[in-house]
Amino acid sequence: MTPRRFSITELAQVAGISGRTVRYYVQRGLIPPPDGRGPGRHYGQEHLDRILKLRDLQRTGLSLDLATTALTGRACEPVPDEPIERELVTRLKLGDGLHLEVGPGTPVPTDRQLRDMTRRCRDILEPGNRNPDSGG
């Protein structure tokens, strides 16, 4: 069987994307440039498969960077050079599955406040399982 051959426009149509996005994928190394030498350069089934895979990954909600990583096993682009924000917080366990984070500058609640907070949280999260002490 003759392998399928596409121009950039045909490939875009078959894949349901724009020609510019095919080019965009080539530029970012997500698909290789068209095959062959001379005027007969073309895209093929391998290009189409990769684009469809990329599109599927993106449809599942994956960002292009993550889709690229999933597809190629490498990161799309290095970590941006914006400064990393760091903040020290105090993390307190109120109970199973219930945690409280207290940011800098805020005093850590007293034990009594923590117990009260835990009870109120439970009341909201598990209304059918009310603590008899909650009075509600």
Partner: protein, 760 residues
């Protein structure tokens, strides 16, 4: 000549210091813009200087803004001693040629229109050490604002909000082009030169955005930026006035052997009509991008708008971001109570509503039935990606006119204009620190004034085979109608503009000959661009918006019309691209160029409050007379070098005495004689006691009469600014005229004040 020498600025370039996101050098070294303005038309040449300082071949991709009224008609790139001239081709064919050239190891240049005001240039296979100068020729119109012309040159693409539903369907490449990578600073700078000439001498030039040097000679003016290289992080805005405002006119230029193109402008004059009550909904962008000086400008704009309403009007204020909040459940009558509630609300609004979901609040407003002539006044910086959807929604509600105030240092001019065009309203632009009163009053004249409908043209002597705009929108009081027509040569042409106003039909006529057309390249490009834009906007209204515009099915006939116009006049469009290819004899297709996406600078004032610094307004005039273009808060500077200082925005927005006075006017048009009023007019109550004693009315009414008269005198003391306060003055005079009391010994209240309290 090497680029370094051409720039003569090697120390400033800092190339190689800044990197792209993947750690490589930014190959764009500098941007140079040369503008030649002749009355209302400008020719702009944009040059971008690139150098590949790497050891591998590269492909550079740069998205940049252009003016919304621009027609791109030339693209070429010089690499060494070789010049590649690009030509117009259909978008798909151009892309295929570009893709093919790069895959073969050859060189190519491609220019695409992503939005009418965003272009993307791809320059492929720039070999190590090579330098390239890309030249883009554009023609554009200057917009008239009163008796001045405004030249706006955008320099960066502000970050845009992409609504969730659009993000899911937007083509990845489109998203990447309209939201390019951002940096707080970029290594390439801007050089600008604007030469201005007209049929009458240039009177004054004001640059509201940058420190500039202006030289007047031979009736023209040349404006250059004071800095050797300026950061591309905000629009360049020039207000230009000629000794005599360019008259309504017709310009005829050659188009091939047998045809010509006429550019015709009408400035119809209308009689004054009494103000009719209407419903006005103020829709305020409170998204994060409005933070800082933009929201402050929005507040001031709103405060002035509120004072321009009259009893009988209804109004509401809706703020929007990710969600929207309405001040009143539905529009309420304008009264002292509702004015006070609105004033308090406006002083408290912040840019705290997150994203920019513009569709939902518009749907909310347009979905309500209106009891009067409804107008929506949208105040925004326009940083959204779904311009087309918003314009389509507005166009589908012709019963409501929509007016826009575009605010900020990097406003999305396209959004503000397309909404105003689709909504049958008008657009005004406010650069931070610029005086806004004049703009608000002008806009309010359109909003509240009569509308002239059934606008059409009739031709005698020759019938054009192409006229744009094909459909003329309703006219407002200060309308300027610009049209382009393709006509046969050697005719005497008479064109008449018709409209129907409240008192019946009106018409205005212009006559011109097509026998001796001149050679000029801007007008044909502008005709083509205007005709293409009309088809593009019709397309937008009909396109399935659930899909990205790059893959949506288009009307084939419309596409063919766009392509034909684009090819014939060599003008870029949404359906065509500029493409140029150079075959490299010993090209090696095995070495593919590395991709370099060029970052753009974050718009000034975004990011952190400390960025919100403002240059002093820079204004120069051919005559020493004070310019009405310059606000009291601004400076009239002739020593332009000293203009290069900055001071915090907070100082800039301190209201002038007139604005303080404006904020104190009551809904009925009067002022109250209290301590705030006395402070605003710098008077002591003692000075007004003799007047109060003469009035045989109760103390409170007497105080209001005297305060209103003093306020009128203050507002009218500067004849240059009289027009700015026209609505307030009208309201005050109406209130005085309706009083049961008459002035002692006089028939006119203002004459009585002049007699009893002569001006100091």
């Amino acid at each position: 000549m090497p680029i370094q020498q051409q720039l003569n600025d090697s120390a400033d370039l800092a190339s190689g210091v800044m990197t792209t996101r993947d750690g490589a050098r930014v190959p764009l070294l500098a941007v140079e813009i040369d503008v030649s303005v002749h009355d209302t038309v400008s020719n702009l040449t944009l040059r971008q200087f690139y150098r590949n300082g790497e050891r591998v071949p590269i492909e550079a991709l740069y998205s940049f803004p252009v003016g919304d009224l621009s027609a791109m008609h030339r693209l070429e790139v010089r690499i060494g001693d070789r010049l590649i001239r690009a030509a117009i081709d259909e978008k798909d064919l151009a892309l295929a040629a570009y893709d093919d050239a790069l895959a073969a190891g050859n060189r190519a240049i491609l220019l695409d229109q992503d939005r009418p005001n965003i272009l993307t240039l791809s320059l492929g296979n720039l070999l190590p050490g090579e330098e390239a100068v890309v030249t883009i020729g554009t023609a554009s119109e200057l917009e008239r604002h009163g008796d001045s012309l405004r030249l706006l040159i955008p320099t960066t693409i502000s970050p845009r909000y992409v609504p969730a539903e659009q993000a899911a369907t937007l083509d990845p490449s489109e998203l990447s082009d309209i939201c390019p990578p951002l940096r707080n600073a970029v290594p390439y700078g801007l050089r600008l030169r604007v030469a201005i000439r007209g049929n009458s001498p240039v009177r004054e030039v004001e640059c509201v955005s940058h420190p500039v040097r202006t030289e007047f000679a031979g009736g023209g003016a040349v404006v250059t930026l004071c800095d050797r290289q300026t950061t591309l992080d905000q629009d360049v805005v020039l207000n230009i006035r000629f000794e005599a405002a360019p008259e309504s006119s017709a310009l005829v230029v050659r188009d091939g052997e047998t045809e010509c193109i006429a550019g015709v402008e009408f400035r119809p004059a209308f009689d004054a009509f009494p103000r009719q009550p209407c419903e006005i909904v103020f829709l305020i962008d409170r998204s994060g991008s409005m933070e800082g000086e933009s929201i402050e400008q929005a507040r001031r704009t709103l405060q002035i708008c509120l004072r321009s309403l009259i009893e009988g009007d209804c109004f509401n204020i809706i703020g929007f971001g990710s969600t929207f909040e309405s001040l009143f459940g539905t529009s309420v009558p304008y009264s002292q109570k509702s004015l006070e509630a609105a004033t308090g609300h406006v002083s408290e609004i912040h840019a705290d509503l997150g994203g920019t979901e513009m569709l939902a609040p518009l749907q909310f407003i347009l979905g309500h039935k209106s009891f009067a002539r409804r107008r929506v006044v949208l105040v925004t910086d326009g940083q959204v990606s779904n311009e087309d959807e918003v314009a389509t929604l507005v166009a589908s509600h012709p019963e409501t006119a929509v007016f826009t105030f575009g605010i900020g240092r990097g406003v999305n001019e396209h959004l503000a204009r397309i909404i105003a065009r689709s909504g049958g309203g008008g657009a005004e632009f406010v650069f931070p620190g610029e005086r806004i009163e004049q703009k608000v009053m002008r806009q309010f004249g359109r909003i509240t004034g009569p509308t002239f409908t059934d606008v059409r043209l009739t031709w005698e002597g020759a019938t054009p085979d192409l006229v744009t705009p094909g459909r003329l929108p309703p006219l407002s009081e200060d309308a300027v109608v610009r049209l382009y027509a393709r006509l046969a040569r050697n005719r005497h042409v008479r064109v008449t503009l018709h409209a129907v106003g409240p008192n019946g039909p009106l018409s205005w006529t212009q006559e011109f000959d097509t026998g001796d057309p001149i050679d000029e390249e801007a007008l044909p490009a502008l005709l083509a661009r205007a005709a293409i834009r009309e088809i593009e906007e019709e397309q937008v209204a009909q396109t399935d918006r659930s899909r990205s515009r790059r893959v949506a099915r288009q009307d084939r006939l419309a596409v063919a019309r766009i392509v034909a116009l684009s090819r014939r006049y060599g003008v870029l469009s949404s359906e065509t691209s500029f493409i140029g290819v150079e075959v490299i004899p010993d090209a090696n297709p095995d070495i593919q160029p590395e991709f370099r996406h060029i970052p753009v600078a974050l718009t000034r004032g975004w990011g952190s409050p400390t960025d919100g610094m403002l240059f002093e307004r820079n204004y120069t005039s051919a005559s020493p007379a004070r310019s009405p273009l310059v606000g009291r808060a601004g400076l009239t500077l002739c020593d332009v070098e000293s203009a290069h200082r900055s001071r915090p925005w907070a100082d800039k927005v301190r209201p002038d005495p007139e604005t303080q006075l404006l904020l104190l006017q009551l809904a009925d048009g009067s002022w109250k004689l209290d301590s705030a009023f006395l402070t605003a007019v710098s008077l002591k109550k003692k000075a007004l006691q003799p007047l109060l004693k003469q009035l045989a009315v109760d103390k409170d009414l007497g105080g209001r009469i005297v305060a209103t008269l003093v306020a009128l005198r203050h507002l009218l003391r500067d004849p240059d600014r009289e027009a700015e306060w026209q609505f307030l003055v009208q309201k005050a005079r109406l209130w005085l005229g309706a009083l049961p009391a008459r002035p002692p010994g006089s028939s006119d209240w203002e004459a009585w004040l002049d007699r009893e309290l002569p001006m100091a």
